[in-house]
């Protein structure tokens, strides 16, 4: 293996380590939010101020970890990866910017139910991921 290929392998390892870190943050968030939902349901939905404070700290820490992980990702990837992310984000943003007012207008003329923000959020995320995956597929 040449000198460049060794550097490339190191780079790939770093990339996947950061991605694994970000996935871990998502897994921790999923585990604790599920645990929290089950725990509060078992108590009949009751939340004490101590539980509230603990949850707020947890959410803050997860948000900080996600922000740090994303920053670390962007400073370590190359310009093609950044461009792929920017294109994915832009197309995802358009999906949101078009779908929400369209649904809202349809609701206003009484053709649909009110806009479901989580559904639109999911649609925008899926569109962004599809655009990103398409670019990755083209430069594989």
């Amino acid at each position: 293996m040449g000198e460049g290929e060794q550097l490339h392998a190191q780079r790939r390892r770093r990339f996947w380590m950061i991605l694994a870190g970000l996935a871990m943050i998502g897994a921790v968030a999923g585990f604790f939010s599920g645990f929290w939902a089950g725990f509060t349901d078992a108590r009949g939905g009751e939340i004490t101020s101590q539980m509230q404070a603990l949850a707020a700290i947890g959410i803050g820490l997860l948000a900080l970890a996600a922000a740090y992980g994303s920053w670390k990702f962007f400073v370590s990837v190359d310009e093609v990866e950044v461009a792929d992310n920017l294109w994915g984000s832009l197309i995802g943003f358009y999906a949101y910017a078009i779908s929400f007012p369209a649904w809202w207008a349809l609701w206003k003329i009484r053709l649909t139910s009110p806009p479901d923000h989580w559904l639109i959020y999911g649609f925008a995320m899926l569109t962004a991921m599809a655009a990103y995956a398409n670019r990755k597929w083209q430069s594989r």
Binding site: G2, G4, H8, R11, V80
Partner: protein
């Protein structure tokens, strides 16, 4: 933009991963530049030129651009 990256790389017997490692970019990035799917930034173009010890215009030339 058109480029001679693939030819220059082949002349040295380097794989895309080898060139990517030397440039500090991924193999996919090298492929994207070689196939014209990505026009490199000026810093990357200068890095490529330095690595091959050629002027930029000997590697890149105007042509069809895919952005």
């Amino acid at each position: 933009m058109e480029n001679r990256l693939r030819v220059l790389r082949a002349e040295r017997g380097w794989s895309q991963a080898e060139l990517g490692g030397r440039l500090g970019v991924s193999r996919q990035a090298v492929n994207a530049v070689e196939t014209g799917k990505h026009d490199p930034s000026l810093p990357l173009a200068f890095k490529i030129a330095r690595l091959f010890e050629l002027p930029i215009e000997d590697i890149f030339s105007e042509g069809n651009s895919n952005g």
